[in-house]
Every structure is written in C-alpha cells, then in structure tokens.
Amino acid sequence: MKKRETQIDDPGQRCYAFPNKPTPSMPVVIDETKCTGCNKCVNICTTDVLVENPEKGKPPIILYPEECWYAGCCVGECPVPGALTMRHPLMMRVHYKNKETGEIKRV
C-alpha cells in the first residue's frame, strides 16, 4: 500500500470529540448578519431553547434545541425582518398540490 497526500480546499479545521447533537438540532435559524443581539427572542421563548450570548450584542445561542415546541413566538417577537426563521424539522414538512396543474410541492 502506498499513501498519497492530496490537496483539499479547507485544511486545518480542528476536529473536536463532540457527542451527537440531539434531534432536531436546529429549530430556528439566525442570520447573524442581521441579528442585533437584543435577546427579545431569548426572553419570549417559552421553553428556554435559546440563551443569551455571553458576549453582549452578539446573537443568542441555541442551547436546548430538542426542547423546542415550534410555537414561533421568537420569530413573532424579532424586531428585524429576516433575522430569525423558524424551521420545522424535515420529517414534519407537509406536501401540497396545485389543484389545476396537479404539481406537488412541499413546504
């Protein structure tokens, strides 16, 4: 056997010994370019899925994603349009059908 080293695009990424993330792991998606770190979503969340970022003014951190109830209160409270999006996990995505064309899509 002969070992050959080849180039990859992004070398040097540190590899941590992470445990598995719980499922679903990403109930909300934060656009960090838009988020102002006001923590209104953290405050309104009914199950404390999100916690404040220890660094003031930075986006909140999704700490307990498996406890999310998908009420979307966080998104309703967010003052910046598009900064926060609620994301149903894939197995919950529902299909719909265009009545005229019969085309089937999913949300």
């Binding site: 405050n43 951190i61 009420a71 149903h88």
Partner: protein, 662 residues
C-alpha cells in the same frame, strides 16, 4: 449558532451565561400570589389587582406569550347579545357528551361570566370583532356587533377571535396594574400553616430557572394556575418538544397540590395517544378538525369525501355549520348526535381500504366560498397556538396559496396527530391524560380548594379545559381570593422549617457529583413513561398496576436521588421529573381505586370488565393526609343547583347576563 459552533469558535466549552446564585433566597410579601402566568393566571392577577391587592405572578416562561401558546382559535360557550344560548345550555352539552363526567360547577361559572371576560379583554387591546368589515356578508358574522362565530352559525355562542392578540394584551394589563411579575420562576411547593399537610395555605416557594435563586412568597391567598398533567405516558429523549402538548405542562401543579394535601379527582382518566416525535405541525396539515372545520376534503383524484350528519346523510358546504332537525345546537367537541358537527364518515378508513377513496386526501379550500377559506386560513389557522408563524407565515413563504393549492392530509389509516380516529390505537400503550376534561383539583363555588387560602383556575380545576374557561375562572378566582385576603388582618406566618426542608430538596441535585451510577433526567423520565405504558396502559388489572406503582416508586426513591443538575435549566428539568413521577404515583393509585371499567374515563380493567356500572357513576377523589393516601368519592352532580348556588355566591356581581335577566 448552537453550542457546538460556540465551542468551535472559541475553542473552549461555554460557561452558563447567567449568574448562578444557588442558595440566595428572595422573600416576597404580597396579598395574593398567582402560580402560573397563562391566560387563567394573568386574568386572576388582573382581577385581584383591580380589587386593590398587591399581587405576585410567577411563570415558567414570560407571560406575554406563555401558557396557551402564541394564541388560540375559538372562544367557546359564551351567551352573548347575538345569541339565545343560555349558560344552562353551555353546561348541558358537556354533561351529556361526557355522561356526567364534566365539571358543571366551573363550566357554569365560566358561561355566566365569559361574555364579561371577553369584553374586558377587548378593552385591554385584544381583537374580538371584524371592525374592518373583512367578512361583511359572511353567514357567520353578526352585522350589528361585528362578532364572527364558528361551528354553529345559527346559535352563535362559539366565537372566532384573533387569539394571538390576547396574551400580550393581558400581560400589559398586569404590568399597568402593578402586578409583580416573576418570569422564569417556577413554584416548587406550597407553604402551609405550621408546615402541616392539609393546613391553610400561606404562600409558596419558587426557583428561578436561569439563576437558581430561591423565592419565598408569603401571601394571604394563593392561586393555582399551573395547568394539568400531560406528560406521564409519552416521552422521547430527543424530540421532547415535537408534541401536541406544551412540554411545559409537566404536572408541577398537581404534584405540588398533592404534597400539600389538596384533594384531586378523576386522576384515572386518560385516552389513547401517540408519542412525541410523530406528529406533523399542529393544524398544519389538511384536516377537518375544529380549527379547520368545515374544510372540504378530496382524495388523490379530486373526488370529494362527503361530510355526513349523525344519520349518514351528505351535508353540503353551506349546511355544515347549521344544526340538523332535532339538534338543539352544534357544540365544538361533542360526538353526541344531539350536538355533533357533521364530519367525515365513520367508516372512512374501511372505504379507503376498499379503494373508494385514493390516498392521500387533501383539504381543498380552493373550492369553498371565500369567507370559509379566509376564516379557516387566516383567522383560525393564524391564531391557534402554533399556527401564526409556523404554519400561516412559513407555508405561504414556501409557496402555499390557499386559493390555488390543496394541503395534504395524513390520515393514512393509522397515525396522524389525532389518534382517536383510529380504533387500532385505542388499546395501545401510549396514553395521554384526557386532552382537557382531565383530573385535577376539586373546587367549591368560590373556586377554592379543600385548603383554606388556596384557589384554582383553568385547566388546574377538575375537568377544566379551553381558553374561555381559563380566562373566566381566572377572573372569578382572582376576585374571590381578593375578597378572602381582605378579610384577614395581618400577614400569615411562614414555617421556617418547611422552607428549609424545601430548600434542601430543591438544591439536592446541584450538590451531587457524577458518580458511577449517575442518571440524567431524560433517562428517569423515559423509565417513568415506560412504567406507565406497560403497567397502566389501555388494559389494566390490580396486579399489573401494583407492579407499576412499585416500579415508579423505585425510580423515584432509588434512582432519582442520583440525578445531577449541572446548571439551573437542567435543575428545573430534574425537579419537573420528580413531579412527573409523583403524578404517576397518584394516577396509579387512582386507577387502582376505581374498581370498574369506564368508557368515558378511558379506564379498562380486566378484573372489572363491566363498563360503567351504575354504582361507579361518581368521581374518585384522592389526597394525602399525614403522608397517607386517602381515597374518597364525590357525586357527579356535586355542584347542586347551578343558578341558585351561583346567585348565592355572587349577589353583588353585575354583568351582562344579570342585566339581561333583570
């Protein structure tokens, strides 16, 4: 970002972002303390504050949106100027539907004051009328008041409202009236006179789930607005939140009540259910249930699946919200032919199997009159608990158009979020606690419990259910608690030893260090749920339940003491687990005490197979006295003369119905 990204970015584990202050005790002195800040708790706080009381309001979350979710769709059982329905009618359909196992006392109070409550919440800023004339000319609109109704367009006592506007309005009113709000503070125990079980209630303890600080509330009156228990049978270690029911309803209320000696009833009631993780977004599939009623359903080839009345006759779209000859009125959840809505045929599953309808089915709003489509997709879906952002906004953003597209239904002969449609699940291991109308606290005509100084509201009340009932009983209990508090001269005495014992219990999980056998809360909850599934499932007997009770007590006494909490959030989850296991014990004992099977209660015993024998037409009550379980009974009609008792207890109350009657 999530915690993994934080570690990747900073190269180190993340520290708890809030100050941790275990052992710091906050003493709070008020006239009335309200435990739980959902709709019932907020209305109780408002009502007591309006009577001049100082009020503290505790909540596991932030009361602007907590409790009933981000909204609700229908406000039921409300006699009003556009209707001739009476409070007696409102009580009757539930008593008939549930064969006497409905709490006519709290239902009657709620129906008497529901309209006053609704108008009061409107004044706080909630939207209850179609002021913009969006639905002008629709058959469910009262042109004079601009109210919109659902389910029965002729009798008009079930409102369509913009439920997402309610909670923020009530919360602002709490703040305006100076209610002291303690968000993220969860009650852990009731404090009683002399620390004795069954004695007068003098306040409560609570813990902050971010800082771990302890709170000691001293109060002349205490109101239990902590909802019911809904987490005994169903648990998934990962998809905890992917459940029909709010994961916050962990039975803290009934567990705390039980420890203090409060009398509970009907704890043996349950029904079939599916475990968390298997549902689609609530009201986010095409269906024909309450929020979506009367949506037209079609099969994969566009063939309409007919709505049928109780006699099996097809009901066209314009007749689906009108009572049939012989029906008094249509009531939202009734399956009794006297009040039931037209629905999908009862043999639908069989007809699908035979090929008459091809799967999948779809809800076709496109073919419905504009006002029905707009009412379902826009008011009902859009205001019900988890539909505004998750369904209405997100589905439209993904391209769904209710005037063009049909939404798929997942009634695939087994499954769907509403398992009661499927008989094959009825005897399965996954139970849920009754979906409203469940067990909980016995109350009198002041909505007071068996303990002096302690009141109950909403779903915390025996067989409590629905948003209107939470708001109306909250408003009523707040008034009664304030009247009681006003009669007392000084502040009550807190028993120091009781506080110390509770402090030790609450902080114990933070003091342990992970040992060789340490167990986390998820494993404990999973084990508790398994015990309930296997030993208190669809079919029960004495021996099975005895083993179940032993198993639950083993988990609680042998394994719970090993649970370790690494931060205040996890500490709360550990404490909740203790409460769930406590409620499991109560349920098992109640199930053993009812030595009969019952259809309504979903309680089927191999050793007592006769269904609903007449001598068991009563409620089984359960409480602790001196640490021992005491079983009792209560007649189903313990409320007595409804109008007479209500009048006797509220001679000075002035409301819409009193004005109408005089």
């Amino acid at each position: 970002m999530n915690w993994e990204d934080v570690v990747r970015e900073s190269g180190k584990p993340m520290e708890w972002p809030y100050p941790v202050r275990y052992g710091v005790v906050n003493d709070v002195d008020v006239d009335v303390v309200v435990l739980g800040g959902g709709p019932g708790g907020c209305m109780a706080a408002i009502s007591a504050a309006k009577k001049g009381c100082t009020v503290a309001l505790l909540d596991k979350a932030y009361p602007k949106r907590s409790g009933g979710g981000s909204g609700f769709d229908h406000w039921l059982n409300t006699p009003n100027p556009a209707s001739s329905i009476t409070p007696e009618d409102c009580v009757e359909w539930e008593a008939v539907t549930y064969k006497g196992y409905s709490n006519s006392l709290s239902r009657y109070i709620a129906a008497r004051e529901a309209y006053d409550t609704l108008i009061e919440i409107e004044k706080m800023g909630a939207k209850i009328r179609d002021l913009e004339d969006e639905f002008k000319g629709a058959p469910f609109r009262d042109e004079k008041t601009k109210f919109l109704f659902c389910y029965d367009y002729e009798n008009r006592f079930q409102f369509r409202v913009w439920g997402a506007t309610f909670k923020p309005a009530m919360f602002n009113e709490c703040l305006r009236l100076g209610v002291k709000v303690f968000d993220r503070v969860v009650a852990t125990s009731l404090l009683t006179e002399g620390g004795r079980q069954g004695a007068r209630v003098v306040g409560a303890t609570g813990i902050n789930m971010r800082t771990g600080e302890l709170y000691v509330f001293r109060a002349k009156a205490t109101i239990n607005a902590m909802s019911c228990h809904q987490t005994s049978w169903r648990f998934s270690t990962e998809s905890i939140g992917l459940d029909m029911f709010k994961p916050n309803i962990t039975g803290d209320g009934p567990a705390i009540m039980w420890r203090a000696g409060v009398e509970l009833a009907q704890m043996e009631r349950s029904r079939a259910a599916v475990p968390p993780g298997y549902e689609y977004p609530s009201y986010g599939t095409g269906n024909w249930w309450n929020t979506w009623h009367p949506a037209t359903m079609v099969d994969a080839n566009g063939k309409e699946v007919p709505y049928v009345d109780a006699k099996g006759n097809t009901v066209p779209v314009e007749e689906r919200c009108k009572p049939k000859p012989g029906q008094k009125f249509i009531a939202e959840r009734s399956r009794d032919p006297r009040y039931s809505k037209p629905a999908m045929p009862s043999d639908l599953a069989e007809r699908i199997r035979k090929g008459e309808f091809v799967l999948p089915l779809y809800a076709d709003l496109t073919s419905m009159p504009w006002y029905e489509r707009k009412a379902i997709w826009g008011i009902m879906v859009g205001n019900e608990g988890r539909t505004k952002i998750p369904v209405l906004v997100n589905y439209e953003a993904a391209g769904f158009n209710s005037a063009r597209d049909m939404l798929q239904n997942y009634f695939t002969v087994s499954g769907e979020p509403y398992p009661s449609m499927d008989a094959t699940l009825a005897l399965g291991p996954y139970r849920m606690e009754a979906f409203g109308n469940g067990g909980e606290v016995v109350v009198d005509w002041d909505l007071r419990t068996n303990l002096e100084g302690l009141y109950a509201v909403g779903d915390a009340i025996l067989a409590g259910n629905y948003y209107y009932h939470a708001c109306a009983t909250g408003r009523y209990a707040g008034r009664k608690a304030a009247e009681y508090a006003a009669k007392l001269s000084g502040a009550p005495l807190i028993d120091g030893a009781q506080v110390e014992n509770e402090k030790a219990r609450v902080y114990a999980p933070t003091k342990r260090r992970p040992g060789k056998d340490w167990i986390d809360w998820k494993e404990l909850r999973f084990a508790g749920a398994r015990a309930m599934q296997n030993y208190c499932g669809g079919l029960r007997n004495e021996g099975l339940m005895k083993t179940g009770l032993k198993w639950v007590r083993d988990i609680k006494e042998e394994h719970y003491p090993e649970a370790y909490a690494s931060n205040p959030h996890i500490l709360l989850r550990v404490l909740e687990t203790y409460n769930i296991l406590t409620v499991d014990e109560v349920i098992l004992q109640a199930c053993m005490a009812r030595k009969a099977s019952s259809e309504v209660l979903g309680h089927f015993r191999q050793d007592y197979p006769e269904i609903d024998p007449p001598e068991w037409r009563k409620w089984v009550t359960i409480k602790q006295a001196g640490g021992e379980t005491k079983i009792g009974e209560l007649p189903l009609d313990f409320h007595g003369d409804l109008a007479g008792n209500y009048e006797a207890h509220n001679p000075d109350y002035k409301g819409y119905l009193k004005k109408k009657r005089s």
